[in-house]
Subunit: 376 residues, 4 copies
């Protein structure tokens, strides 16, 4: 059987999730090629070796450039902090490798576009890890919208709020610096809901009006020196949206939303129904349809089951529940199939560039106090 | 015992709710005066008489001006369509009556201000029926915010979405015409959430950025002639908010939000906790506090009980549940006490003028495409 | 207009709820007679007078027998502790009065039967205050079951659990003594769910197997003397049920179920659907139907609205929510209509006797360790 | 690194779940030995080969006895229908292999005991797949109970209801025959909740009173011949429970509970708090504690996170959600650690024998109409 050899750069939060998914994917799905955990790169050789053992990679290196140039590696899997995505991806593309990168793709739309163009010229495949769109419930939401079951969309409400930086005593990290993270909550979690706004509606966001705020303006230095430094990007953001069809909507993103752990949620309102979803209850979709006798209408809780997208591969029985990592398994399936079978991948770098475009438009409109066009 | 004689104008939806509450209030609460259902006005004498019998009013008239000039009437209770509020209230004030009016107060902020000034010059008491703020759960939310239990507020999200005009076959009525309703969803249900934004936070909305949309642009004429006419105000509206303290937030209002029946909901996020509320589950408040061991934190469902504001008067036992009309009972209690004991009433005409001010600022910003100051 | 004059005995929890409902009922509904709050009896004349003023009764007496013999009183409304129901009801019946009594009807099935027979011989109307069956959501559940929308019933699960006696420091009261309350949780809250089991299913419980437990076996004396006395009835009870049709089910009752405030809940499972209900969310019914595509099935949250039983009288708009006291308003409507129009009342003394019969069968089976037939 | 070689018998529902978990476990957890998917047995060699490829097993056989005698196999993983568990497990034990078996362990308590004794004499390790107890939320519930955070337990309510056989047109299969399944719903899903009753409370069920019912008494023959045959075991069961400490409780099990997909749920009531759980929302636990001001008490929704048992291995961020298969990953971790490090395994065959004992006692009490002691 054909293999697809992965080189993983970075073993934090996302690196481990990728490793778990690479292991599970070929058992869950019938894949056209066997993904192989070939080579792992970390900041030094010792950590790399230890992580390779832990995560089941065959080889390790302390030099990510060596990983990229390694002839055995087919796919470069970029799980590093945001500011490294560009350099690594461009190097991988230059080496003719397919690139699987975490989100947001880049620190700026200009950087993202450079990556898009490089990838397209090189003819390599790219995929960006907006994994929540793989959740069967969200795939189902998209299907319901596309099928017209809730009529024509008239409103989209989305949010991705978490509280991981709500403690003011948490020190600076790469996420709180402009130069390493780009936008703050808007880029980190907001990128998910902005991509999802287009994914779910099947429409393009054309104009935005945004408002950003850094709630905790200074944080302790990471070195424990006792001083504090300015937080350089947003803690919370909100925006009104205009889509190309005339649809309107709004989004929120926050990293200081006390109490919210996985607060990605959306409401899709159509002329004949509505959909509610909350990722904290990731295996449920609420569906309302203006059908049947009025006294029997209501939001219906659909528990995901084998009738829904990609669920049956995990369990033949409804209601048994998928987890966060299962979304990554589906993402790996899409990636492997896309590469081996030459299918288009979604969201590829070009699509992810749009997300950077939306982020920048929200920031621009915040500064200018007026609607901003999404350039992407 | 002292009495307070009510003259009710209008017996639609709200008129009946007022009548029920006037009956129940003196048994639920120990009032300083006995409210009396004295006189009822409707568009003609016959309907007035029939409604007076039905709603338990002592006398009836087909002429609202007669009601206002009736020497027995202490309080004029204005439950007519929006466009009649001003004329009726000004007449009542001129006759030296206290005025209890439904919301929104007026078709424009200028009209509202005229009413404010007349009432204040005449020295009569006024109260506007933003009844949802009487719900014990919402009173509790305000208490929790004011007490600092969730720290300092950093975000307010509010919506009041319903679907009462989501059917495009529903014909025109006074609500769909600029001249009779003023703003559409924004004025009708949006006025509730805008008032509540200030009530809950204890802060003033100073600037807004709004977006309005008429989703169903034409509706059948009310006369059944078969033609259609243009809908003159918004079906849905959304806005970003700036409060005087620097707090930010957003609101939505809709009359075409398919599936939402009583979709008034809010999220208050503070630096140390958060509150969630949904009027469709009106006797519950969700409270999160960043206290205690991390593994034991979560949103707590507080069922209203005798420890909470105004609940004990309805039932000595927790969790037994209040209903929509019970909110009006509390409103009547506040009105009677305010008049008899000379207490300030909230929200009075001046406070309701602010709501008209916010509505107009949202409309203005929608047209101008930039932040608009709330003038009120 | 015809009047129906009420004499209320007892002004605790239930007495006030009755008074509120008597006031509100004629405004909510178009009644065939005007209920009048005529006479109120309490343990002494002073308290009676004070309560009459508070609750809006025209006259007061410190002697309940005087109330019963009062020629103006048409309906005797018994809101006294359980152990007084029998004597008062029999006296009222002897005086030819209609009797409206709180639940459980009597301390024993034998007492209840004596009351049934007296009432039926005298030809007076009787109604027992199992008010939760008036909730529109529960009326709707019964309609759905009766209509066959969920097929043939195969299982009933019911519970009424509260925590009002969960604190072991709470002293004895009439509820904890056999001679004043009869059964404990089983009689107090269990009586509701037992009546509801028959109401909802439209079937008779024929045999039961029960288990009772007094969790807090001793409580402080009520006189504050510092000593403790034995609790004489059950704190929690559970039973398996057999209905006449072959349907099976189970019930729970508790007064020590920590965390439950209004924990009346049921699940009705049929061959083609199911219903879930929880009185803590009293304006919602969850309905599942085995219809339509499998991927679109789920429990639907029906928010009560004007399409549902008795809701429209309270509000023309769906989702606005009824409260606990509104159930009593519906009960009063049924009572007044039943008396004036000569309609059968449900649940009358005979029906309430069945509840006493079920309670005793549960107690008997607990002692004997085997199924017990319901004698009633 | 040490390896532990697995031989899997049966590749239905559970077989695939085991295979996925065997793949993922060493990446999720740091295991003391590497589980290897060595050999797979199915009913014939062709199917076995195909399934081995699909599920990632190195070798395949059409003869389960060959698997058991294969010298490379360390652990025999029994995922066959219930009636084969005994023969296969005894053979594996005789061959000195550790045994990992699906539930219920055996068709009867006597069979289970025979298996217990064989395993204990042979000194092999055994584990039975009651996987729901591995869910971090349920592990947390047990910890909370054991810690006394909700005081002393006074009531346990459990159910495991599904609707997988609610369609009367579904034909016979091994689950509907006494000789191949043993008990029906009681054995299949009921075994989970009975084991969980003891796991959560830390107490033993000593006596039970049960009621069983076959709702759909005849089903089509599996061969499509058009005739029907009698269903030989229960579709639904319910029982009252007595635990050794005096604690009482009840359980339900159903395979015809229309609308319930993964209806394993429990309520644990203590003297100072309560816990609610529903596997359909498997990453949430509801916790009530009688602490703090009364007006701030309520059921708290704990979203599983890294502070809770075993969660951190899957994700460092709270609320991200585990799925059904993740429970099996934890089970594999426990199995591997137990075998390699010589730790006791829970639930082993002896513990699973108790479940068969409870099932039989429920069946016996149903027939005899009285309490039955659990013999195990």
């Amino acid at each position: 059987m054909q293999t697809l050899k992965f080189g993983l750069i970075g073993t934090g939060y996302m690196g481990k999730a990728h490793a778990i998914a690479l292991r599970a994917a070929p058992t869950v799905f019938q894949l056209p090629a066997q993904p192989v955990c070939e080579l792992l790169a970390e900041v030094d050789g010792e950590l790399a070796s230890s992580k390779a053992r832990e995560l089941g990679f065959a080889r390790a290196t302390g030099d990510w450039k060596a990983l990229i140039s390694d002839p055995e590696v087919d796919v470069v899997d970029v799980c590093s902090p945001n500011y490294l995505h560009k350099e690594m991806a461009l190097a991988a593309i230059a080496a003719g490798k397919h690139v699987y990168a975490e989100k947001p793709l880049a620190l700026s739309a200009a950087d993202a576009l450079e990556m898009v163009e490089a990838a397209e010229q090189a003819g390599v495949k790219t995929l960006v890890g907006f994994n929540y769109i793989r959740n069967p419930a969200t795939q189902l939401a998209r299907e319901i919208v596309a099928s017209g079951e809730i009529g024509e969309l008239i409103h989209f409400r989305g949010r991705h709020n978490e509280d991981y930086l709500s403690d003011p005593e948490l020190p600076h990290g790469w996420r709180t610096r402009r130069g390493t993270a780009g936008a703050g909550a808007l880029g980190d979690v907001g990128s998910h809901i902005l991509n999802m706004a287009e994914y779910l509606t099947g429409q393009r966001v054309t104009e935005v009006f945004g408002q950003l705020q850094t709630v905790i303006s200074r944080r302790p230095h990471a070195d424990g020196s006792g001083g504090t430094g300015e937080v350089e990007n947003d803690d919370q953001a909100q925006a009104l949206l205009r889509f190309d069809s005339g649809l309107i909507g709004n989004v929120e993103a926050s990293r200081v939303a006390v109490g919210r752990k996985m607060g990605l949620a959306y409401t899709l309102t159509g002329t004949k129904g509505a959909i509610l979803f909350d990722q904290e209850r990731m295996s449920e979709l609420q569906l309302y349809q203006s059908e049947g006798p009025k006294g029997r209408r209501g939001f219906r809780t659909l528990l995901m089951g084998p009738e829904h997208p990609d669920y049956a591969a995990f369990s033949p029985a409804a209601g048994h529940g998928l987890g966060y990592n299962d979304q990554k398994v589906i993402e790996i399936r899409d990636l492997v199939e896309g590469i081996v079978m030459g299918r288009p991948l979604y969201p590829d770098f070009r699509e992810a560039w749009r997300v950077n475009g939306m982020i920048e438009a929200i920031e621009r409109s915040h500064i200018e106090g007026r609607w901003a066009r999404v350039v992407a």
